[in-house]
Symmetry: C2
Subunit: 163 residues, 2 copies
Amino acid sequence: MSARAIPYRPHNHDACVSQALADARAICQQHNARLTPIRERVLELIWQSHKPLGAYDVLGELSSDGHNAAPPTVYRALDFLQQNGLVHRIASLNAFIGCTHAGQSHTGMFLICRACSNVLELTAPMVTSEVCKAAAGEGFRAENTTLEIAGLCPRCQAEPGHD
Amino acid sequence: MSARAIPYRPHNHDACVSQALADARAICQQHNARLTPIRERVLELIWQSHKPLGAYDVLGELSSDGHNAAPPTVYRALDFLQQNGLVHRIASLNAFIGCTHAGQSHTGMFLICRACSNVLELTAPMVTSEVCKAAAGEGFRAENTTLEIAGLCPRCQAEPGHD
DNA sequence: GCAAAATTTGCAACATTATAACATTTGCAC
DNA sequence: GTGCAAATGTTATAATGTTGCAAATTTTGC
């Protein structure tokens, strides 16, 4: 898996999408999980941009496709994709974003720009290790970490209004 | 502000509540903010336990009080309490919990037991500093951090089923 | 005190996000 | 091709959160 583009900066986004889909196919094959057309399509929609997409946004896009979908269709696809580490749910936004570290075991940390909405996923080993240390200090067995940072991305600090 | 009780362990919870209410009164006075009866009552309800309470749970309790409340009443009170640093919203649970560090500027980190639902709020300076470092490394200006750890508290690791 | 202004609350409707329950179809093993 | 498990379709509903405006209360300026 090669270096990732920075979401905040213009880039060849089609490459992001094809990479993500290729990774997904490989990972599902490994897991013996079925990346059905709906699931793949939902993943593709999530990867339309580096902005988190709500379940009902996905639903809307599916409808534009001519697909007669209802909420459970979307939520089931999203559950599947989450199970297989292909998308993350951003709890503070009730929205979903493609995982940029699919296949790597990781604890995601998300930098969410409040101006342009783009999200950068990081793995910050030092953060993870301090979190574990803090939890362990209380005798707590950490299983799942939600770490979401809202703020301003470099681009929006300089000049506002990108999307 | 004295040492805090550990939510996972039995303790004199009335003391938590009165401490929280006393702190709240002091803080609101400082801020020239009005801790009206409704707001105080909502804070008290939130502090019923160390388990996060949903907005509609609060609403239900208000109704049991005989108070004829609608959702906006609760959400407005919760907003006020959040503004003044008296409660936190747990994004991963859509629920609210009393702040155990009211008055101190802090970035909360929450240890959420999936078995007993109790939540411990920590301030972990090393975590905060690593988070800032990681964000800064990307040129990101962090404004607001959501850090929620789900897992098992010490008590529930030993024997399950507490509440 | 008293009227004007600002804040808070009441209230009705509605918007958004997510799930439950059950029927139907599809893919796969044998 | 029969039978089973997984995936999808469909309808309804639950859970969470917001908007907009009117009424009541509190504060402020005088």
